[in-house]
């Protein structure tokens, strides 16, 4: 497993995001749109990067967050009309610096049932590899707002080809840290300056390390709806590749 996985994923995300001016963390409060269909951040890392346990190095953790800036104390749900999908392209080690293909070699498709009286939703996970869809088996449910701590992965396993994918979904505190206001102010100042030469004159004080003290975390104490998967890499790999481009989508029927 190549340790450059994370940068590779990062590059993949940003390139595929294409026209986006920044991370599409938040579209702001709006009346008309479905909150549960609003995507926010994506995280992908090898499990051992967090646990430090080399036995975990064969697991990939994927996190898809939606419903940004949701208020604490309020139960929010996943849409029961949508597909939440992680898309992965397999990349040969030798091609890792090439332009991402944007080809969905693997799709991990998560769908949700309507909530029950305990505000829990059933989770269905399907794995689509090279166009072939396989449903996983296992009794999977979302956590609800009453669950004080998120359960461990081992509690909910989806079985496929004799292997297990750990699944957890529900409300979590948004882990994203960013002084978005500082960022937008600087961006706006650059845009107002009009030219690249003008931009060069802008002092990036608000982004400098010395300014850390006043940087505010705009996601502090807000929740998001998280879908977290722990996928054995052997389920994803083919032809000895160890790099993946990862991106996420939420789609609904027209």
């Amino acid at each position: 497993m190549n340790l450059k996985l994370i940068p590779a994923i990062f590059v993949g995300c940003l390139t595929l995001a294409g026209g986006l001016k920044a991370s599409d963390h938040d579209d702001g409060e709006m009346d008309g749109k479905g909150r549960s269909l609003n995507l926010t951040d994506l995280y992908a890392f090898r499990e051992d990067n967090q646990t430090g346990n080399s036995a975990d190095s064969e697991n990939l953790i994927l996190v898809m967050n939606s419903n940004p800036r949701s208020l604490p104390g309020q139960q929010y749900f996943f849409s029961s009309n949508a597909r939440y999908e992680f898309h992965l392209s397999r990349v040969l080690d030798s091609d890792k610096d090439k332009r991402p293909t944007g080809q969905s070699d693997i799709i991990l498709r998560v769908t949700f049932g309507a909530p029950d009286v305990n505000s829990r939703q059933t989770i269905n996970l399907a794995v689509i590899r090279d166009g072939i869809e396989q449903a996983t088996s296992g009794n999977l449910q979302t956590s609800n707002i009453g669950d004080s701590k998120a359960g461990s992965f081992d509690a909910q396993l989806a079985q496929i080809d004799g292997q297990s994918i750990g699944v957890a979904a529900g409300l979590r505190e948004d882990p994203f840290f960013f002084d978005v206001n500082g960022f937008f102010k600087t961006r706006a100042a650059i845009a107002q300056a009009g030219t690249a030469a003008g931009a060069a004159q802008i002092k990036f004080a608000s982004l400098s390390t010395s300014h850390n003290a006043s940087a505010s975390d705009f996601t502090a104490s807000y929740n998001v709806n998280s879908i977290v998967l722990r996928v054995p890499l052997s389920l994803l790999k083919k032809n000895g590749n160890s790099v993946f481009d990862v991106w996420e989508t939420i789609s609904v029927k027209q």
Binding site: M30, G32, K185
Partner: protein, 652 residues
């Protein structure tokens, strides 16, 4: 004895299930010592009895004769040949089949002619009692509950006979109680006639005689048949249990079927809310949360925008002008602080302008937004729809809604498009969009789900599909109480002639949020009593004037109140002045229609004609527009043209 108790239960359970007595709450609006309008309840000024008298008066339209109610009684239990054939001449089971089967059971219950006669007498005694009690208003049980218990009583009696318990102890009392239940069913048939007070007794007697006559007719056919069957050796032993078993199965099925029609079991209906109801955080809780974030960093544009947005949402819900002003000043501050890349603030600015009825400015703003980022384009289109509707540009609104649905197939965008299509008279397409919106509902978004039901119910109400409208309204009210849904329910009950129900609901809506529109409706409900009518209307005017002063420019409610007070022409002149002011900012089909109504009331048919023609040219094809167009044509003496508008309404 135990069996008797079971039957006693069958009779009294429905009594327990009936509704609460009418709420006699009264309300009034007055200025308190600080000069602020207040609301007062349980003020004994207006006696409820006057409303009841009014209802009695309105019932005195067609009074059926003694003979007719007698025939109705015979027909009700299916003992008339015409009950057995459809209008097209095909054979059918009569609606009173359940009653016929009961008589069959009585005949099969055995024990000789004398005992049969005794039971029939007991049955007659029971239903005569309950029929009289229910018709005279001593007991009131909803017909759908009564029907369930009627089917259940037949099934139970059939079960006893099928089991061979021919001679049941306490048989007389059981049959009497069964009769009591059936009498409640007869009473519902009689109630549908809306008889005046002085005709009730004679109708009661003739209807009851009719039922007796019907029973005799059935027995005349039945007894010879049964007698013949007992002559056949093979059939003798099986006739009673076999027939009773068939009746039992049939009656059990009816019980099940009728239970499904009860409101509590109707959860599978398409408009039913299929998610658990999670009450959203209270408005103040949400505001104080964003307030805290804003206080922590007043320079944080995101915090300012979020606070402004929730204050605006609070204003939309409660009409609090203070919240609106604050939202506006925060929005201005945000836009000054960060002129570029501030999509949320730009979107909110357009919505604020629209809420202030500054439609032309709002449209200018949306035109810039539509050229902007994806998010700006989306919110720009949303505001463009409301603004376009306000200036009567239905086509522009439809184009914007189409674009939105193509961009994002969200429930809310389908609902917006459905509403526009309905106003254009495109009902089938509107239905299609409503269906899509219901299918795309999301759990936890109860605010939207209520709005979806409110708009859907209003559409059905305007189409005259009253029962569907009521069902959707009730499904919305199951999510949470909401004054708009309550007012709509009152309008629907009014259309169903349930005036007391409508009045009760208006009281409740007024408790939630006092509005002139509620008092105006209460006045209309009491139009037959001059004193009450004027009382409510005075208060409605007071409140409507206050609403004009303390809102962002809603004049149309006051116009409606003034037009109701239209006997004195200075009120109508003021109404016209107000509409002209409204037309400066909002030239919609709706405003033009009201304008036409007021002009017609003032006797100015030609100008009323021009106003309604403008509404029609805007593409308005709603019930109100077409109805007004027809009225104007009648006033101008063009009956054939009026008919064209009425028939267009029907075709829609």
């Amino acid at each position: 004895m135990r069996i008797t108790l079971l039957f006693v239960g069958l009779v009294f359970i429905p009594l327990l299930l009936t509704g609460h007595p009418l709420d006699k709450a009264k309300l009034s609006v007055f200025k308190n010592e600080r000069g602020i309008l207040s609301v007062k309840f349980n003020d004994a000024e207006i006696p409820n009895t006057q409303i009841e008298t009014q209802i009695q008066q309105s019932k005195s339209e067609k009074v059926p004769t003694f003979g007719k109610t007698l025939i109705l009684g015979v027909g009700h239990i299916g003992a008339l040949p015409e009950e057995w054939v459809t209008e097209e001449g095909q054979a059918q089971w009569p609606e009173g089949l359940d009653h016929i089967l009961l008589v069959v059971l009585l005949a099969l219950s055995g024990g000789g002619l004398w005992k049969i006669l005794k039971r029939v007498t007991g049955f007659t005694l029971g239903h005569s009692l309950s029929l009289a009690a229910a018709t005279l208003g001593w007991i009131a049980i909803p017909s759908n509950i009564v029907e369930v218990f009627i089917a259940l009583s037949i099934a139970a009696l059939a079960a006893f006979i099928a089991a061979g318990k021919k001679d049941i102890r306490g048989g007389f009392s059981i049959i009497t109680l069964t009769g009591f239940l059936h009498g409640l069913g007869f009473a519902n048939a009689l109630k549908e006639l809306n008889l005046p007070n002085d005709k009730i007794i004679s109708a009661l007697i003739s209807f009851n005689l009719g039922v007796e006559l019907g029973q005799i007719i059935i027995l005349c056919v039945l007894i010879p048949t049964l007698w013949m069957l007992t002559r056949i050796r093979f059939a003798k032993a099986f006739t009673a249990p076999a027939t009773a078993a068939v009746v039992m199965i049939l009656a059990s099925f009816w019980t099940y079927e009728r239970t499904q029609e009860l409101e509590i079991f109707r959860t599978e209906h398409w408009s039913a809310y299929r998610f658990p109801i999670i009450p959203p955080l209270q408005g103040e809780q949400v505001i104080s949360r964003y307030e805290a974030e804003y206080k922590r960093d007043p320079a944080n544009t995101l915090a300012i925008n979020s606070l402004a947005q929730v204050l605006f949402s609070a204003y939309k819900k409660t009409g609090s002008l203070k919240d609106f002003e604050r939202a506006r000043s925060l929005n201005t501050a945000s836009l000054q602080q960060q002129k570029l890349l501030n999509s949320s603030a730009k979107c909110l600015r357009a919505s604020l302008l629209e809420a202030e009825h500054r439609f032309s400015e709002a449209i200018l703003e949306t035109q810039t937004l539509i050229q902007g980022s994806k998010q700006e384009r989306e919110c720009g289109l949303v505001t463009q729809i409301s603004a376009a509707l306000a200036i009567g540009d239905l086509n522009q609104a439809a184009i914007a809604a189409n674009t939105l649905v193509m961009m994002k197939p969200y429930a809310s965008y389908y609902l917006m498009r459905a509403n526009i299509l309905e106003a254009q008279g495109r009902q089938q397409e509107s239905d299609f969009d409503l269906e899509k919106a219901f299918a795309r509902e999301e759990a936890g978004e109860t605010g939207f789900s209520q709005k979806l039901r409110f708009i859907t119910a209003r559409i059905y109400y305007q189409r005259g599909e009253i029962d569907e409208a009521l069902q959707v309204t009730n499904s919305g009210l199951q999510i949470a109480e909401n004054e708009n849904l309550l007012i709509l329910k009152a309008d629907i009950l009014n259309a169903k002639k349930d005036y007391i129900g409508a009045q009760d609901i208006l009281y409740r809506a007024f408790e939630l949020r006092p509005q002139s529109g509620i008092l105006r409706r209460l006045a209309a409900l009491n139009h037959q009593s001059d004193e009450i009518y004027r009382h409510y209307l005075e208060q409605a005017e007071l409140l409507a004037r206050a609403e004009v002063e303390t809102s962002t420019g809603h004049r149309m409610e006051l116009v409606r109140v003034l037009s109701m007070k239209g006997q004195s022409s200075n009120k109508l002149t003021e109404a016209i002045e107000l509409i002209k002011k409204e037309l400066d900012v909002r030239k919609s089909a709706e405003v033009m229609t009201v304008f036409s109504e007021v002009l017609l009331q003032k006797g100015n048919s030609v100008q009323a004609f021009h106003a309604i023609q403008t509404a029609l040219q805007m593409g308005g094809r709603s019930k109100e527009v077409l109805q007004q167009a027809a009225k104007v044509e009648i006033a101008l003496g063009n009956k054939s043209r009026a008919f064209l508008y009425v028939s267009e309404r029907v075709t829609n």
